[in-house]
């Protein structure tokens, strides 16, 4: 038998090959194609005409794209703060609970396993101006939530983000809790002997010790915020008046509603570069000795 077939290093490559093969055709090849399509005016069906950098010029003039980028930025900031803080606190409190902890974990994690359409419908009904909380308050003579926050341009983005955060934060609780259980118990015992408060133990032991998993969660949030789409699409379709439009939503609209596939590819390429920069940034931190 040829040596390359039995080489122990080569064997692991053979096992990896099917996955690499699938990845090439499902991810790499379409990505490369997308890089080429962004230089064309293809509508998804007919002739493909080369237009050079015209799509990029249009993209930088596109006020909806700029608005969507800004919304993605706001979205990322919200997800990097609210669910992270809440999840950290809840996870830390849960470590002190011995009885019934599983119940709480299940309850917090439950929205994460629900389909996005289910989560969206629940909150759409809650915020429904007639049948939801607004209608109930109206019956009590209180003018509160009489207009759905999804229907007002001042609140639509935040309302959609709220629903997505409600679904997401339980996931963070679970991964932070897992990280906290890895912390050496003797560190807390030493802190107890030194008379440290609960907050001091959290600040000086828990947070530094779970840093790798914490940074990982931040990377996940930043990267997942870029292609965020489903909650916006289901709840507001980017409206009213583009007030909740995000980049992936704009890409979808261009590709599948306006049939500007070439232009949509340009948006996709920009998203790809943005994610590349984020990954590069964290790779740089790792090189600089951060435990990322």
């Amino acid at each position: 038998m040829p040596k390359f077939l039995t080489n122990i290093n080569a064997i692991s490559w053979y096992f990896l090959m099917p996955v690499l093969f699938i990845h090439f055709f499902v991810i790499a090849f379409p990505s490369i194609l997308s890089l080429l399509l962004c230089l064309t005016d293809w509508n998804g069906f007919g002739k493909i005409n080369y237009v050079g950098l015209e799509n990029f010029e249009e993209l930088f003039r596109d006020r909806i794209f700029k608005k969507a980028v800004y919304h993605n930025f706001i979205w990322t900031i919200m997800f990097l703060t609210i669910p992270v803080i809440v999840a950290l606190i809840i996870a830390y409190l849960l470590t002190g609970i011995k009885r019934g902890q599983l119940f709480y974990r299940l309850v917090y994690f439950f929205p994460y396993i629900l389909a996005s359409i289910v989560n969206c419908l629940i909150w759409r009904y809650i915020f429904h101006p007639k049948h939801g909380l607004g209608g109930w308050f109206e019956n009590q003579g209180i003018d509160f939530l009489s207009k759905s926050p999804f229907a007002m341009k001042e609140t639509a983005l935040y309302a959609v983000a709220w629903v997505d955060m409600w679904h997401f934060w339980g996931f963070l609780v679970i991964i932070y809790l897992t990280g906290m259980y890895q912390v050496d118990e003797s560190l807390y015992e030493a802190a107890d002997i030194e008379g440290a408060t609960k907050f001091q133990k959290f600040r000086y032991i828990t947070i530094p010790m779970i840093r790798p998993i914490f940074i990982l969660s931040l990377i996940i949030i930043i990267i997942w915020s870029v292609p965020t789409f489903d909650y916006v699409y289901i709840l507001t379709m980017g409206g009213p008046a583009y007030s909740s439009e995000v980049v992936a939503n704009h890409l979808y609209s261009q590709a599948f509603q306006r049939m500007n596939v070439g232009y949509a590819s340009t948006i996709g390429v920009m998203m790809f570069f943005y994610v590349g920069i984020i990954v590069g940034f964290f790779a740089l931190l790792r090189r600089l000795g951060w435990e990322v």
């Binding site: 005016d41 509508n43 998804g44 069906f45 007919g46 002739k47 759409r124 429904h128 101006p129 007639k130 207009k147 759905s148 999804f150 229907a151 007002m152 341009k153 379709m237 409206g239 009213p240 008046a241 583009y242 007030s243 609209s253 599948f256 509603q257 306006r258 049939m259 500007n260």
Partner: protein, 441 residues
Amino acid sequence: MNKIFNFFLSFVLTAFFATSTFAATKVVWWMESDATTDPVVQEFFVDAFNAEHDDIELEVVFKEDINDTIRPALLSGSGPDIFDTPGASYIKIYQDAGLVKSLQEYADQYGWQDKLLEWAYNSGVFSGELYSIPKNYETMIYFYNKTLFEENGWSLPNNLEEVEALAAKIKAKGMNPYAYGSTGWQPTHEHLVGNYFNTYAGPDNVYKALIGEKKWTDPEFVESIELLRKHMVDDGYWSGGLETYYSLGWDDFNGEFVNRESAMLMIGTWGFNVTATNFAESSDDWDWAALPILHPQAGDKPNYQLATGGTMSVNAASKNPEAAAKVIDWILSDRARVLNVTGQLGYGAWLMPLHYEDSDFDPNIDPRQKRFLTEFAEATGTGNYGYTTWTFYPNDPGVHIWKDMEVVWAGDITPLEFMEESQRLWDKARADDALVPVGKR
């Protein structure tokens, strides 16, 4: 031995030729799925066709989101023999890409031009040849609570002044003039835009803008949008205000209409079925009317906007286009059968644009529904028709209408800026040869 061999050989040859000669040609049709429509289509079209034909076997595959599933199938050179599309703007793209077969030879052979209403036939003609046939036609009208109108002594409005006076009276009673909402279907905005274009700017002007003889930035279009903005934002005609309109879905606004929270429902003729069903459980009665003319430049009689709701075409890669054409002709050739099917669906689907005669109708048809079918045919037959955005607009300007109308309502852009963007997208579509056929007026 020879005898046995000869017998065996002749048996095999007979079986072979019999199978190849008499095997039915299979025609596969991918159709947009709908829980109500599918069983009716299966029984009265598919099963009925197969019972009548030995030479062709029709199989309909009901698909969710047909537009998403047909695209990869056509691009890969596979797919069904016949397929549905959402409308003419998609056919234009398929035709440019060579993915759809010209039906001209079959149209000539079977006389489809005479079977279909002229405007409907023309809506499928690209570069002089027929590529698609509308499955359904619809228009925009309004329903009203007849009992409520009689109780209050309200009469149907005929012009802008009367519309606004009636709306004021309805609001004074604590009700909304119209029920409507866009949750679940953002493009409902384009229904309203089309209504104002055709009843304020007028169908002649819309036609001229569609064929490039007028600019969309001309005052009559800008004023139409400004009037719609006023009625929506300042006056809150639809379900009480912009935010409520954005929050209501189909069930919500239909419920609002039947519950007397709104006096009227401005909607497409697909609303007949649900209105009749809802009011059947109410003590109130309903009726419908054509949209009132809001400006003299739109003519002196109400017009009906033309719209096709979905089309059927033959795949360019079909191996059996003759059989597929035969299936289509079988459907087009029996008006009573089509009326029977569409009647079971409340005339909301499969109302094919054929030349119906009085004898074709079921004697039990709701007289209000029959009045619509007759009046629509008469009015459009005399050229008194307008244009919907979803049938006569190319994709990009069409999406702009319903996406960016919200920006006007939000006050972020003016009606003029909205129409300038519309004109820019139309110029681009015209330059890209992406326009859909309009038919000479």
